[in-house]
Symmetry: C2
Subunit: 138 residues, 2 copies
DNA sequence: TATTGTTATACTCTATAACTATA
DNA sequence: TATAGTTATAGAGTATAACAATA
């Protein structure tokens, strides 16, 4: 792959990702909030400290985000029984529903784009997907 | 392409884009500011209204962002000679340098990832790049 | 004494409403 | 009167510093 094609591919990835991210379940749900919900959905209930590390924000910042999510009834905050300093954050049923709905909308948007491709083109993306995945995981 | 693979590809794109975006020329340059600089670099000098539409923020919001960029010497604000209501925003030499440096850093980061692939894998990405591009442009 | 979370405070980016200058 | 930009004000998300509770 040439430098030029590497650049093109990178720019394309950024643009495509921007479009996908615009597909939310609810416009009132910001990127920061939604990202927390996906972390809880994918990796399960966690302490506030764990979440702040995962999202790479400070504990006070995550605390404020969690406060607003708790007020909205989207996550729950429970004190740890064995260590009183810790709190466990988890999705409420409403939070879980919201994650699923957002995921469904994004998948549907992306699938509608893929539907315009011919079989050869889809095969090319099929082949590229695991390679891109490895790049992201590196 | 199956639904499952579509979902995987979409998630991978989001993760990869997040990693690329983290590569900035200068950590003091936020996403909002940098996005304005890239718009000016790619599409040339524009009015404030045009920029606010492009970035999908309100004019007052864009105005504030432009104020701070002008104060930092990164863009210039010039009144239109033929229509006194309009102002034209453009990159300063420093702004242009910053865009190029950011682009270089992101390309370098991405190239270092691509370097770990074998020729077949690079060929697969080569084939996928124009297809992804079409998806993004749709 | 170290760890976990929270509160206090401030800065940036966003918005809506109201205003100024120009066409 | 309509348009382009700006100012006033407020809310969300980020940070650092200081504090409280618990181990």
């Amino acid at each position: 792959m040439s430098h030029v094609l590497g650049h093109e591919l990178r720019v394309t990835l950024l643009r495509l990702a921007r479009r996908v991210r615009a597909e939310r379940a609810d416009d009132a749900m910001s990127d920061a909030r939604l990202s927390v919900l996906f972390a809880l959905f994918n990796e399960g209930a966690q302490t506030l400290g764990s979440l702040s590390e995962h999202e790479r924000v400070t504990p006070p910042s995550m605390n404020r985000t969690i406060n607003s999510l708790v007020e909205s009834g989207i996550v729950t905050r429970v004190s740890d029984a064995s260590d009183g300093r810790k709190v466990t954050i988890d999705l409420s049923p409403e939070g879980r529903r919201l994650v699923k709905e957002t995921r469904r909308k994004r998948d549907a948007w992306f699938a509608s784009r893929l539907a315009s491709l011919n079989p050869d083109e889809r095969a090319a993306l099929d082949a590229a997907a695991p390679i891109l995945r490895r790049l992201a995981d590196q």
